[in-house]
């Protein structure tokens, strides 16, 4: 897919009226071949015409795309994408500057006061705020996906301005979300957050007493951030030898050798230990603890120590042929579908190798490739049983918040971590239990149709008998009352639709689920909310909330397609 290829949203019945199309009529249109679009060039090559699927409108396609590209579709975003098309929307997002960094916002909000020095809560406030409210939604979504790859958890950071360490780390991801992968590696390696999280701060060269350099970062930067355990083809499938065996990407010796490079790292001792600036100052390398001898790994050798050796080592990793398919597959899984075809992975990986201008590692080009690939946009895939991904709990929460205008009690945005699996989401940004994140990319639930079909569903790792029900209970509270700490939805724009259950349910299903609910589910919800009499007190709000929670707990929403 070339960057220049325009992606149009086929036109639909006029905006605003679309949600009012009676279901019967919509079905009839679908049965005629899904050809409601007035731009046949972009219409699906195979008509989608199953009895359970409504006609796919331009609004639905826009919402579906926004589900991939943002933390939740708003009515305004849907209208905009329908108006200008996906490419123009992407162009605008790529050009959009960040409104404010996490760091600056936390300072401006008073969280740099010494009373917050040991607290992790300002991070929660700032990250929820940006995920939900920021205009640069594409950047926010991509950077959050990157935090699921380049994991740092605030739980393990030194309690000296951890919110600012984490906030700065997230700023690095956000600032590089449309930048170059190689620069990103360099930047994250220099952060206090990563240095403490993967413990190379304080790692010293071998000193003859048997003490060895810390191997943590050396191992995980290869296993989890860039290469993976086994050699990959460009399409993300494993390379196998004549016996069908996978081939290791690196050996234990490679880890031990690379660990020599990540020695001597220290926080900048020219600053006071409690200085907030240490949360964003580049780590420094203490020459007395830094290995200056050679390190040979992945078949290459670096030597000389200092940041020069670090950069040379990162060059070697970056040049490895696993990096393009590894990153391509991870981003596709985070944004679009858990089991992409090898061809899709290869198309994205090819863009990683060369963005069309000879540049390797252009994340912006990779993002565009992921989001505009035919496999991401195809109407046909909506009917493909193996397509899609389980929406992560954090995503479900931000989906609700964005789609229904949730706002905080005040500008301090005191929305807490929601990681509790017994009360909340069982997941919260920046609170991963370890560098292996909340879920691993190859996870498949046992005894499931997923594993029987040889598929993976990473987000299922945190879905179990407990979290599945806690989620429903929590979201009902969120939908009906908002968070106790003050994040409350504003449903006033839906009240006008409350008298028309079809229109109301369609609008809610459009924003949350891109209209992908089956007719059966839609009709069940419509008829249930119609049972709330128009004479009942607060009938409009009750209908709205009931429809909202029913969509939010439906598997047809929970699986993003």
């Amino acid at each position: 897919m070339s960057d220049a290829q325009p992606v149009e949203i086929p036109d639909a019945p006029s905006r605003g009226a679309a949600h009012a199309i009676p279901a019967v009529l919509a079905l009839a249109t679908a049965a005629c071949g899904g050809g409601e679009g007035s731009e046949p060039a972009a219409a699906p090559s195979t008509p989608v015409a199953t009895p359970t699927t409504s006609a796919i409108t331009a609004e639905m396609r826009a919402s579906r795309f926004l589900g991939h590209a943002t933390n939740g579709a708003t009515r305004a975003d849907i209208d905009l994408v329908v108006d200008i098309g996906i490419d123009a929307w992407l162009d605008a997002q790529f050009l959009m500057d960040r409104t404010i960094s996490h760091w600056d916002w936390m300072v401006a909000s008073g969280y740099s006061d010494v009373s917050y020095r040991g607290l992790t809560s300002p991070w929660d406030y700032s990250i929820w705020r940006q995920l939900i409210e920021a205009e640069d939604q594409l950047r926010q979504r991509v950077a959050l996906a990157m935090l699921d790859i380049f994991v740092v958890s605030i739980a393990d950071l030194v309690k000296r301005w951890p919110s600012f360490q984490m906030g700065f780390y997230m700023d690095v991801l956000l600032d590089h979300a449309f930048g170059n992968f190689r620069d990103l590696l360099s930047k994250i390696t220099r952060t206090r957050a990563m240095g403490d999280f993967l413990t190379y701060v304080g790692s010293a060269k071998e000193n003859g007493t048997g003490e060895m350099p810390d191997e943590n970062y050396a191992r995980e930067i290869m296993q989890l951030f860039t290469l993976g355990l086994y050699q990959l083809n460009q399409d993300g499938t494993y390379v196998v030898d004549a016996n069908g065996a996978y081939l290791s990407t690196y050996s234990e010796v490679d880890v031990t050798q690379l660990a020599r490079v990540f020695t001597g790292f220290e926080v900048d001792t020219s600053l006071a230990a409690m200085d907030i600036e240490l949360a964003r100052a580049d780590l420094v390398i203490d020459p007395t603890l830094n290995e200056t001898g050679s390190a040979t790994f992945l078949g290459s050798t670096v030597s000389g120590g200092g940041y020069a050796a670090v950069e040379a080592a990162l060059d070697i990793i970056f040049a490895h042929p696993n990096v393009p398919p590894f990153f391509a597959k991870a981003m596709i899984r985070a944004l679009v579908t858990s089991n992409p075809t090898p061809a899709y992975v290869a198309r994205v990986a090819d863009v990683f190798v060369d963005n069309g201008a000879g540049v390797r590692g252009d994340i912006k080009a990779v993002v565009r490739s992921v989001l505009t690939d035919a496999e991401a946009l195809s109407d046909d895939n909506l009917e493909l049983a193996s397509f899609g991904r389980v929406r992560a709990p954090v995503q479900r929460f931000t989906n609700w918040a964005r789609s229904f205008n949730a706002s905080p009690a005040n500008d301090l945005w005191q929305v807490p971590t929601l990681e509790s699996r017994s009360q909340h989401l069982g997941q919260s940004p920046g609170h991963a239990p370890s560098v292996f994140n909340f879920f691993q990319p190859d996870y498949a639930p046992k005894h499931s149709s997923t594993s029987n079909a040889g598929l993976v569903a990473p987000e299922f790792q945190i879905a179990d008998e407990v979290t599945a029900i806690v989620y429903v209970n929590f979201m009902l509270k969120v939908v009906s009352e908002g968070l106790a700490s003050g994040l409350v939805g504003d449903y006033s724009d839906l009240e006008a639709l409350a008298a028309d259950p079809v229109a109301l349910v369609d609008e809610i299903a459009l924003r949350l689920a891109a209209g992908q609910l089956s007719q059966e589910t839609l009709e069940a919800i419509r008829s249930a909310i119609a049972s709330i009499s128009e004479t009942a007190v607060d009938y409009a709000q009750t209908r709205i909330k009931a429809a909202m929670i029913m969509v939010l707990v439906s598997p047809e929403y929970l699986i993003q397609r």
């Binding site: 880890v255 017994s422 046992k446 997923t450 069940a524 598997p555 047809e556 699986i559």
Partner: protein
């Protein structure tokens, strides 16, 4: 360049299948009703047994858990550990006096495990030295000459966690806790309560047929707190249920709906039983942490096992935070304090319930760590030491082979990463045998076990 021996998995499968063919049973399902009956015949109608796996996620540092105490070995240990060594004088109160002869070797518990010293002294706890993932007996020479089959991806967290839990390198392999469950689920009137995790789900509990169940820290989670109304309406409540479990042609959607249904199906039964044993009846769980929460609900589930028709259960408790590449001394002390306090409270609860003889609790971890310090912590290793507790345990003894303390010893593959001298399969077989799996079924449960001398299958710990 090493490669994962996929053909090994195939061989394992073939061996397993052919063993079953020899036993006259069909290859699928892997564990036939014949196996179940053979194992089930050992049980009586009144008995109960439970295995409780406490998994220390992240790779526990063996050398500071069970510390070399005899003067010579402590000196070697302290030299290699430097800043992360525990001084010999700090270990005096927790020195272990095992009933068996260790030929001069002495060990002490980390002082943070002091609450377990009385359990060891009373014969209720045993230590197993240097156990880890192996496919077959392995020597240092074989390891470096690559003339031995090795578990794939030694030293990698997720790979080794999975291998400890499954003892099988196949993608999608079942866990051995779950496979034990496969053998015994026929005892239980509700097979779904055979394998239960008190934390997140774990492959350990997932058998070839048994599907594990996750329980919350205070029991099953009631939808809408048990209310039959949604926003004041029964109709809406009905529609909510329908929405949650709506059939979906999408594979993941179908699985999600099935999960929700499973949870809903069990919640009422489980919570009705648990109501008879409120948490307040377990004052020994006085500490407040996620480990205690898990142990408390397991104790309560054991307390109502007969009400729930369960005679054989395998439980899983996950405790994270053991990956201590830095700050090891202080962090390890805190984690071991949690571990020791929890385990001893759990044993107290079992004794109060009168089931101490019927429940065996054991630890496992991704891997052991390096003996050599990396300055302030230790790195990923291989073999490590584990604890086994319970009334049926032949406790007050130290099992396994004391590893040589040092670098480049015959037990070491670098920096004090121990080559295990006991395999996870032998450890598992010992526990499974106590649980009631027959000797002849052990190789079905643990395909690699056949690679070890039959006389070593039962370590005699329990």
């Amino acid at each position: 360049m090493t490669s994962i021996l996929l053909n090994q998995s195939r061989r394992t499968f073939l061996r397993r299948t052919s063993q079953m063919a020899l036993a006259g049973v069909a290859a699928a399902p892997l564990l036939s009703s014949l196996d179940l009956i053979r194992t089930a015949s050992a049980a009586t109608s009144t008995d109960y047994k439970a295995l409780v796996c406490v998994f220390l996620h992240g790779g526990n540092d063996y050398a500071n858990t069970i510390v070399p105490y005899d003067a010579d070995n402590h000196t070697l240990y302290a030299m290699l550990r430097n800043k992360i060594a525990i001084g010999r004088s700090d270990l005096g109160a927790t020195v272990l006096s095992p009933a068996n002869d260790l030929e001069g070797r002495q060990y002490a518990l980390n002082p943070a495990l002091s609450s377990l010293a009385p359990q060891f002294a009373a014969g209720k706890m045993a230590v197993l030295l240097n156990v880890g993932t192996l496919i077959e007996p392995t020597t240092r020479t074989q390891y470096f000459n690559q003339t031995v089959q090795l578990p794939p991806k030694l030293f990698s967290h997720n790979s080794q966690q999975a291998y400890v839990a499954t003892s099988n390198s196949d993608a999608g392999a079942s866990g051995w806790g779950g496979r034990i469950g496969d053998f015994v689920q026929a005892y239980n009137s509700n097979p779904q309560l055979t394998c239960i995790s008190a934390g997140q789900q774990s492959v350990f509990l997932s058998g070839d047929t048994v599907n594990p169940y996750c329980i919350g820290k205070t029991g099953a989670v009631d939808l809408l707190g048990g209310s039959s109304l949604l926003l004041g309406s029964a109709d809406l409540h009905e529609a909510l249920l329908q929405s949650m479990t709506a059939g979906d042609t999408n594979i993941f959607g179908g699985d999600y709906a099935a999960l929700t249904s499973r949870s809903q199906d069990m919640a009422g039964t489980v919570n009705a039983a648990l109501d008879s044993v409120p948490a307040s009846q377990f004052p020994m769980f006085s500490a407040s942490n996620a480990f205690i929460d898990q142990l408390r609900i397991i104790a309560r589930m054991i307390a109502v096992s007969s009400e729930l028709g369960a005679k054989r259960q395998v439980f899983f408790v996950g405790l994270g935070g053991w990956d201590m590449h830095s700050g090891l001394l202080a962090r390890h002390e805190a984690m071991l304090g949690t571990l020791g306090g929890g385990l001893s409270a759990f044993q107290d609860a079992l004794e109060q319930l009168g089931v101490a003889q019927q429940v065996t609790t054991f630890t496992a971890s991704d891997f052991g760590r390096t003996l050599a310090s990396n300055g302030d912590g230790s790195d990923h290793g291989w073999g490590g030491h584990q604890l086994i507790m319970g009334g049926a345990v032949n406790g007050g003894r130290i099992y396994g082979t004391p590893p040589k303390v040092g670098i480049n010893t015959s037990d070491d593959v670098g920096s004090g990463r121990l080559i295990p001298t006991t395999s996870v399969d032998q450890y598992a077989a010992t526990l499974a045998r106590w649980f009631g799996v027959s000797d002849s079924d052990l190789p079905l449960l643990l395909p690699n076990l056949a690679n070890f001398d039959r006389s070593t299958w039962n370590l005699g710990i329990v």
